[in-house]
């Protein structure tokens, strides 16, 4: 658990959790989370498993985005993706790669992304979010889901989501599919940034009105009990309620003080 910057009226409490897909080590996890406590900017990205250097791309997007100012409007965000893609591509060109890596690198890398900026400098705390693909922002109030974006239903998760490409010239149409939203926070609201598998799982719990499982998950997350949370998700995978994929969760709870 980490405690980012407080305002005079609000405090944010963070809990994060990363868990790789079965058979992989944590170092192979292609989901990434970044936090900038000074600016209250938080981001999560999910590198596409079949893409080249997806782990690096996911890490680069989140760490660079939380250091930015604004970068919330779609056009501004697309320019940011272009610039980061150039940096990543330049890092590859400095490497001596075998033929298959060169071939794969030509297609670039891909990642889903969601970022949120929270403003605590006013009486009413507010948030703004930018997202591309199926990494989600889910807002929880009194242990109930009240908002989910950019994917709002568990049935809308597919095998081929729109993703942020490192080579934007190959997929310019993605620029038109960047989502942006904003809203207000109430005392005790929890904003969850989630990669796709766990986002689909949470939305399904909500659709099935499975409040017990949702409450158990939120309780484990708040306790920062990684081992028990990992065991909890392993059980969900074993029962096939949760897709076997990398899991990334960042919980941001806003409390009025």
């Amino acid at each position: 658990m980490t405690s980012p910057q407080k305002s005079q009226r609000w405090r944010l409490t963070l809990n994060q959790f990363l868990h790789p897909k079965s058979g992989n080590s944590v170092s192979e996890c292609e989901d990434a989370i970044a936090v900038d406590s000074a600016s209250n900017r938080f981001a999560l990205a999910d590198g596409a498993t079949e893409a080249f250097d997806a782990r690096s791309w996911a890490h680069q997007l989140v760490t660079a985005w939380v250091r930015e100012k604004d970068c919330l409007a779609p056009l501004e965000f697309w320019t940011f993706v272009e610039e980061q893609g150039r940096i990543l591509s330049a890092s590859w060109s400095r490497m001596k790669l075998p033929w298959y890596s060169e071939e794969k690198a030509r297609g670039g890398s891909f990642a889903a992304f969601v970022g949120i900026q929270i403003d605590l400098n006013s009486e009413a705390a507010s948030w703004q979010s930018v997202a591309v693909g199926d990494s989600c922002l889910v807002q929880v109030r009194n242990n109930k889901l009240v908002r989910a974006l950019p994917v709002a239903s568990s049935t809308q998760f597919g095998a081929t989501p729109v993703l942020a490409p490192s080579n934007t010239s190959l997929q310019p149409e993605v620029a038109l599919q960047i989502g942006f939203d904003k809203g207000q926070l109430e005392d005790g609201d929890l904003s969850l940034l989630l990669s796709d598998a766990v986002a689909a799982w949470i939305l399904r719990l909500s659709e099935d009105k499975n409040e017990r499982a949702l409450a158990e998950f939120l309780n484990l997350l708040k306790r920062d009990d990684e081992a028990t949370l990992a065991e909890f998700f392993e059980n969900e995978r074993a029962s096939q309620r949760l897709k076997d994929d990398d899991i990334a969760v960042l919980g941001i709870e806003a409390v009025r003080i």
Partner: protein, 289 residues
């Protein structure tokens, strides 16, 4: 069935079984410049290339697949040439690291600003075209069966092996029905071994793709191949749909009188395990400089 996750600890096996008999030196109908054996070798090299790229994680190739390329003609055995020659079953990382040669070329791609730019690309080669001798299909299927018996014994929980068999003629060493059915009876906990057959021809005849019954097959050899062709599982049907190929539940993995485009699609669909997006290398190649 056919839902097991393919991982390094639970890999799957793909057998590319190739007719390399003398008749493969004949041209396709209407194209005297291209021998069937040349075209098939090119498609197989691209298929291996695609499998390697799918398993590439930055600088590492993960062993999700083990691949056999078995040729039959004057001899029956591994068709790999170069460092992998004489090896029946090869990990995909060894396929990546030990091609016979890597050819360099240029490809024209969009520059993102309305123009075109040429970029260097590399095409590895693992097998050379070969067309010599008779068609000992039964012996080749027996070798395949032996490889797969060992595989399913060692990987009882894995995604079942897939056999992609391409031939241009009838067997010269007996009826392949019996050994074909033996292969189809092998299985893992995730389902029976998949065998798909593609018959190619030098004659201009109507092709039959992925039929669900024998009614359109007037030829006895065609019916034999149909009967030793597995039903296309759901993931493979999805891949066929993505390629615009007509196939439906009940369709067999069988093409008769295939033309060049059917051959390419046969390998694209046949390697689309777990519903992976087929790799459309023909589109890719069309821009080669």
């Amino acid at each position: 069935m056919y839902a097991a996750q393919i991982t390094r600890s639970n890999p799957t096996c793909i057998v590319l079984l190739l007719d390399q008999s003398g008749s493969m030196s004949d041209p396709f109908s209407g194209d005297t410049s291209s021998k069937k054996s040349d075209f098939v070798a090119e498609v197989v090299n691209h298929t291996l290339h695609d499998l390697v790229i799918r398993c590439t994680k930055t600088e590492e190739v993960r062993n999700y697949y083990y691949v056999a390329v078995i040729g039959y003609g004057r001899v029956v055995g591994p068709a790999f040439r170069g460092p992998l020659a004489s090896r029946n079953l090869v990990s995909i990382s060894d396929v990546a690291d030990y091609p016979l040669q890597v050819k360099s070329s240029y490809k024209r791609v969009a520059d993102g600003a309305g123009g075109w730019v040429e970029i260097p690309v590399r095409y590895p080669v693992w097998i050379n075209p070969l067309a010599d001798g008779k068609t000992p299909m039964c012996e080749a299927l027996n070798l395949t069966k032996n490889i797969l018996e060992n595989w399913v014994a060692e990987h009882p929980q894995g995604f079942p092996p897939t056999v992609l068999h391409l031939t241009d003629g009838e067997s010269s060493d007996g009826d392949p029905d019996y050994v074909g059915r033996q292969i189809m009876s092998l299985k893992t906990a995730d389902g029976p071994v998949l065998i798909f057959n593609c018959h190619i021809t030098s004659l201009r005849r109507e092709k039959i793709e992925y039929p669900s019954d024998e009614s359109a097959l007037s030829d006895g050899f065609a019916r034999t191949l149909f009967q030793i062709s597995s039903h296309l599982p759901e993931n493979f049907l999805a891949a066929a749909a993505q390629l615009g190929v007509k196939a439906s539940p009940g369709s067999r993995g069988f093409v008769f009188n295939a033309d060049p485009s059917s051959i390419v699609q046969f390998y694209e669909i046949g390697t689309s395990l777990t519903g992976m997006t087929p790799y459309r290398w023909m589109d890719d190649r069309s821009e080669s400089a």
